[in-house]
């Protein structure tokens, strides 16, 4: 065959090049779509959720008369505890009204309405403060107290004068007063540490709801998952890949592991309910049970990439080690495992990431429970992992069920926190992988 000029592309070449260009265009389109979807997700989550990291507070000076707060007169804590938040609410209303009067802002609102602009949580805040500092009784205390969710929403643009007019929980007058107080510097917005440290709060007070328990719950569950599934998964994959004889049984196990990785996660919840709660009688809703259930789910998802990583180590390395008289075990632990470590690590992080975001199995073991107080488990002197807790994704689910629009913002804020968790985990993985990665 005689070739034509190389300067002119022939028909076949043109066709091939066109096919290649089309393929590249498809790939590029797919990536652009993916990036757009990611941007949309981030914009919507951060758009609604970022504001949950800022919160509106009022600086209030509260009178603390001894005759109301301490009938004993000797600061006997047990006597002082008899005064409920209702008693403190009265003082709070009085104090806040005084602040408003002192600022010289004219208002027609009653003392009760003015006090109502503060969060229902504020009375509990001041009560805890006084019980912890009983010497303050008889004087007065100046504190930053939470404003209620509507006022907070007004400063974040969620609540408007029009919507307030239709809302039985607030009124345009209250919003106007709040605005004037803000201009006077009495009401201010600051970084919301409480969002990261507070436990959940009831339906009426989204402004006080925080992720503290959920973050700790998720953290403890991740520790349980890491401690149980990592060694088991690595040991199982090393055994299956390097030591197990290739026969019908190992084939069966292999097929089963692949199937388990594809089992819907809610099934693991049922399994966990049956084994850990009904049979072993561990505490319902506890991070220990949650972690164990997630470990079951994560195990096959780590074993599969770990085996792939071990398989990808060239056999010549094993021969080399055996050839100088290393035992099978030495060849695996001195040579194969270090080379497979980056791959195994990637699998572990992906598995942990999935476990972190998993909701369904946790609902079944009762982690959806409303946890108002820090569980005693999180105080240093109680046994860890034992008591009812919640977790980040469950908290998101939980908050999206609530009626008050303030919780929409909270739910998005919780998603942001979850994403930051994932980001940190991935960063750690990348760091470790860099550290382990070796040139061939």
């Amino acid at each position: 065959m005689t070739h034509k000029s190389l300067l002119v592309a022939d028909a076949r070449t043109k066709k091939r090049n066109a096919a290649e260009r089309r393929f590249k265009a498809y790939g590029l389109t797919a990536i652009v779509v993916a990036i757009l979807a990611l941007i949309m997700l981030l914009v919507s989550v951060f758009g609604t959720g970022a504001s949950s990291f800022r919160q509106t507070y009022a600086t209030v000076t509260v009178p603390l008369p001894e005759d109301k707060l301490d009938k004993s007169g000797v600061r006997d804590i047990d006597v002082m505890k008899k005064v409920t938040t209702i008693g403190y609410t009265k003082l709070l209303n009085e104090g806040f009204e005084n602040v408003v009067i002192a600022s010289g802002i004219p208002t027609e609102l009653s003392r009760k309405d003015i006090g109502g602009m503060l969060s229902k949580e504020a009375a509990a805040t001041i009560r805890d403060h006084i019980l912890a500092n009983s010497e303050l009784v008889g004087t007065e205390a100046t504190l930053d107290l939470l404003m209620n969710g509507r006022i907070d929403g007004y400063f974040k643009g969620r609540v408007t004068m029009e919507s307030a007019a239709l809302d039985s929980n607030t009124s345009p007058e209250e919003l106007a007063l709040a605005q004037a107080l803000k201009d006077a510097g009495i009401v201010h917005t600051k970084f919301n540490w409480a969002f990261l440290t507070n436990p959940d709060a009831s339906d009426q007070r989204p402004e006080a709801a925080g992720l503290g328990v959920a973050i700790l719950g998720s953290l403890y569950m991740m520790i349980v998952v890491l401690v149980t599934s990592l060694p088991i998964a690595v040991a199982a994959s090393i055994y299956l890949e390097e030591f197990a004889p290739k026969n019908r049984w190992t084939d069966l196990i292999e097929v089963n592991i692949s199937n388990l990785a594809a089992v819907p996660s809610i099934v693991y919840g049922i399994l966990g309910l049956a084994i850990f709660i009904n049979f072993l009688e561990l505490n319902q809703s506890s991070p220990l049970v949650g972690g164990l259930v997630l470990s079951l789910m994560t195990l096959p998802r780590i074993i599969i990439p770990a085996r792939a990583a071990l398989k990808s180590v060239p056999p010549s390395i094993r021969d080399a080690a055996l050839g100088v008289g290393a035992s099978k075990m030495q060849s695996v632990f001195h040579h194969v495992l270090p080379l497979a470590a980056p791959g195994i690590l990637t699998g572990v992080i992906i598995g942990l990431g999935q476990a972190l975001g998993e909701t369904a199995p946790l609902l079944l073991i009762g982690m959806v429970a409303f946890v108002r107080e820090y569980p005693a488990a999180y105080t240093p002197d109680a046994g860890l992992f034992g008591e009812a807790s919640t977790a980040l994704p469950v908290q998101v689910y939980n908050w999206t069920q609530r009626a008050d629009p303030g919780f929409v913002e909270r739910a998005s804020g919780a998603i942001i926190t979850l994403l930051i968790f994932l980001l940190v985990m991935n960063a750690v993985a990348i760091f470790l992988r860099r550290k382990f990665e070796r040139r061939w």
């Binding site: 010549s316 390395i317 021969d319 050839g323 100088v324 008289g325 061939w440």
Partner: protein, 258 residues
Amino acid sequence: MKDTNMQNPKISAKNVQVYYGDNHAIKDVNVEIADKTVTAFIGPSGCGKSTFLRCLNRMNDTIDICRVTGEIKIDNEDIYDAKVDPVQLRAKVGMVFQKPNPFPKSIYDNVAYGPKIHGLARNKAELDEIVEKALRKAALWNEAKDRLNSPGTGLSGGQQQRLCIARAIATAPEVLLMDEPCSALDPIATAQVEELIDELRQSYSVVIVTHSMQQAARVSQKTAFFHLGNLVEYDDTTKIFTNPDDPRTESYISGRIG
């Protein structure tokens, strides 16, 4: 085939058969390999040279489908005896593979690994000495002495092969199996390795697989010619290359089978 019974063979194989599944790769091979001698295995590709070599240190154990029958004795001990630990055997019978396979570690660690796991050095100084001696013997010292801590995989193919040789001799084996050790080397490195092999003969029994007739003729005292899994002829190298008994050997060395 001429009977080649020796006085005191280092290795003696009787009726060795090797199967890969249904593939009968080595057919009833009987051979005795002398101590302090270089024995060359030659033969066309796929005739079973590597397979037989790997029987001698039981590297075939790592291949699931591989089955070895017959008897192989080293120093009159049956290496396929149930009591023999292949790990101990491989410390005594070192191997250099067809393809260079250094560990992805530093040059120093590559050579030091064997001595370390066998406890051949009591301290760092002794280990350093072993490493230097091994690298010198493998004719790599001059190129490697300034970069002992750089990765062994960063060396050229020929240097890597010499590193593997250094690694094998660092564990002080009694028998050294070399599977085409020079196939990746240039003529100068080849000459160095051949010199090394000649030197190793003083203390070891060396078995070398090679595709180069000239190499077999240069370095070996005994030569075995394999063909289609059979050991066709085994005799003194000079005899094989000047006056072979079997017509197949004759045609292979003159380039008609291959």
